[in-house]
């Protein structure tokens, strides 16, 4: 897209991700083909060499995940893309990226699982896996855009969050967003801020790769720049050296888990529609939000007080933003293409304040606005 010309450009979701990644400075991609994410690898193979970047098709998703972490440690912005089975394979190394605080963007174009499932059908079945897929407590960010235009801006934000907070960011597309064609406006793209990795200052010999500078996010040096530092997936001290003492484990985990809380402004992303006077709240994310928006319009036309709380950054879950509606709304609807995953978070936040009703499907079919509208009428 020519950012110097105003207007709207037509993109497929997967294409939008590639363009936005390159615009964000992504110069390394490692992947392994899998439907419905394959176009991302194919387009990266075409585009990266044009900008002096590097593409590699690895032998599997485990290797792809390892390669992007290695590239990122040299100071190169790096991304990988996959779907269901491949996302499962990446998990161990996603945990490694999280614990070693290595920025990486992992796209998961969700398809119906479990197992090989339905390779070409959309799903949101990996929402909990995006949060808890790797072992152990760890910080992670996951973003679920609700349109192609948002897939574009979400990709830019994914790089910003990942680089700035040194955390893996999972871009949770679904097959619909990945393959749908929609317009993306240049103005919307230009409006997104790009954040970069914080770089160390001061002498190289005093450099401590995991020393907190007060922000919770230690500045990061590149391999090859003379800092000569150690990176390990063991519990590690400020120097990066193994330290498995319980005292240090508490200190490290506190900083690691706390850095996302301290920088909510960087990653929190919620879009609220007609919520001011809402009595019924739809909490949606990803492509079902489009059907939910249509249902909302029709319900409003019928005089029903419905609002939508669309979660774009699903992890960390925007609990305070949602908690505002406790006492205001009578019921909450959660349409999801799974058998009830983010609904659990919504229930946790709403507690006894309002009943939380799920609309769930994991059959490869999309929600129709009429289904959601019917549910709205039911609870009204």
């Amino acid at each position: 897209m020519n950012l110097n010309k105003t207007g709207t450009h037509l993109f497929q979701g997967n294409e939008a991700v590639v363009e936005a990644a390159i615009l964000s400075g992504c110069r390394f991609f490692a992947g392994y083909p899998i439907t419905p994410s394959t176009e991302i690898a194919e387009l990266m193979a075409v585009e990266l060499p044009k900008v002096g970047g590097r593409f590699i098709q690895m032998e599997d998703e485990i290797g792809s995940m390892g390669a992007v972490i290695g590239a990122s440690l040299t100071g190169t912005k790096a991304m990988t893309a996959t779907s269901g089975p491949g996302f499962s394979l990446k998990q161990e190394n996603i945990g490694y990226a999280s614990f070693t605080e290595t920025p990486v963007v992992v796209v998961n174009v969700q398809r119906v699982g479990p197992s090989t499932g339905m390779p070409t059908a959309p799903s949101q079945g990996d929402v909990m896996q995006a949060r808890w897929g790797t072992h152990g407590d760890h910080p992670v960010v996951a973003i679920a855009p609700g349109s192609v235009a948002e897939a574009y801006t979400a990709t830019i934000r994914a790089f910003s969050i990942s680089e700035f907070l040194r955390v893996p960011v999972i871009l949770l597309l679904d097959e619909v967003i990945g393959h749908m064609r929609e317009g993306v406006s240049v103005e919307d793209v230009q409006a997104v801020e790009h954040l970069e990795r914080k770089r160390p200052k001061g002498s190289k010999s005093d450099f401590r790769p995991y020393r907190d500078d007060g922000s919770g996010v230690p500045p990061m040096a590149n391999f090859g720049d003379g800092y000569r530092f150690h990176v390990t997936g063991l519990f590690h001290d400020e120097r990066g050296y193994p330290d498995l003492s319980p005292e240090w484990a508490r200190t490290l985990m506190k900083r690691l888990m706390g850095k996302l809380d301290a920088h909510r402004d960087v990653h929190e992303w919620v879009e609220e529609t007609e919520t001011d006077d809402a009595e019924i709240l739809i909490v949606s994310y990803g492509s079902p939000a489009q059907a939910a928006t249509s249902a909302l319009r029709q319900a409003r036309a019928e005089g029903l007080r419905v609002g939508q709380f669309r979660v774009v950054t699903v992890w960390p879950f925007p609990e305070d933003a949602l908690a505002k509606y406790k006492g205001q709304v009578r019921a909450v609807l959660v349409p999801e293409m799974n058998l009830g995953q983010l609904r659990l978070e919504v229930e946790r936040v709403m507690g006894d304040a309002a009943p939380v009703l799920g609309l769930h499907r994991a059959d490869g079919e999309l929600f129709k606005p009429a289904e959601i509208l019917e549910k709205i009428r039911e609870v009204d």
Partner: protein
């Protein structure tokens, strides 16, 4: 430079047991780097998980202790992103040949300029003496209490057949030959692989009647046959023996060079068409 200057002295003492050969192999790597005059600032050492994979932590370079079996995948990312960096992988026999076997095959197939040193102690040391794909048939391990019925890999043969530029095997008993092989491997553009046979008296030795480090060294001395001598022996004489020497030393296209050429070609085409 003094060898100690290549070590992170504040990381010592190391975790290895008395009689372990890992320090000897590590020293051979450092000697190779020193002989080639490689800059510590431009050399990245990557490892997997295991006793041997702890070696990079003691070395004063950019060092990356990754996940079990995956060192070559991480190293591929480092090398492809920044081809001017020297990249070395340190791996154990289990790390390289079992969980990481696929990455080993494909790194060799691509012939990416990474030097891989496999510390072969014929056992899983870190987890307490289970048999590995390189444990000899009939040897004992904690998961082979009645003797190992698996057949051992010839890892050098695998890597050679996969397309690596350089393949050699040595042992810590034959340290001069091992050090030379490592230096040649480091100097070789392309994928270079050295299997370094090293004693684990604590697990392999104890399970296999080689209780002391000296017993293990003697075992190495008796088992190893230099390639030049082996070539003159008939196969029967060679059963149960391990051949040390250089099995491949070829000039082949290197992966990051090929990618660099691809970038140039694509950019030229884009320029011409615009």
């Amino acid at each position: 430079m003094a060898l100690l200057d290549y070590f992170r002295t504040d990381m010592l003492p190391h975790i290895w047991c008395p009689g372990c050969g890992n320090g000897i192999v590590t020293q051979a790597i450092v000697r190779g780097i020193d002989a080639l005059g490689w800059s510590q600032d431009e050399t990245v050492i990557v490892s997997g998980i295991g006793c041997s994979s702890r070696a990079p932590g003691y070395l004063d370079f950019d060092t990356l202790h990754t996940t079990h079996g995956r060192a070559l995948a991480f190293a591929t990312g480092v090398k492809l992103a920044k081809p001017h960096l020297n990249v070395i992988v340190v791996t154990g026999d289990g790390d390289a040949s079992a969980i990481g076997g696929n990455h080993l095959i494909h790194a060799a197939r691509r012939n990416i300029n990474i030097t891989t040193i496999c510390f072969n102690n014929s056992i899983y040391g870190m987890t307490g003496g289970q048999y590995s794909p390189l444990s000899p048939s009939h040897s004992y391990g904690s998961t082979a209490p009645y003797g190992n019925i698996d057949r051992a890999f010839d890892l050098c043969e695998l890597v050679r057949a996969s397309g690596a530029s350089y393949v050699a095997r040595g042992s810590v008993y034959h340290i001069a030959q091992l050090t030379r092989a490592i230096q040649d491997a480091l100097a070789k553009p392309g994928f270079a692989f050295v299997e370094a046979i090293t004693p684990c008296p604590v697990y392999f030795g104890r399970k296999n009647q080689l209780r002391t480090a000296v017993d293990m060294m003697r075992w190495q001395k008796e088992q190893m046959i230099p390639l030049r001598r082996a070539e003159k022996m008939d196969p029967e004489e060679l059963t149960g023996k391990v051949i040390i020497g250089t099995f491949a030393d070829k000039d082949l296209p290197e992966y990051t060079d090929s990618y660099e050429a691809l970038i140039e070609k694509v950019r030229r085409e884009v320029e011409e068409s615009s």
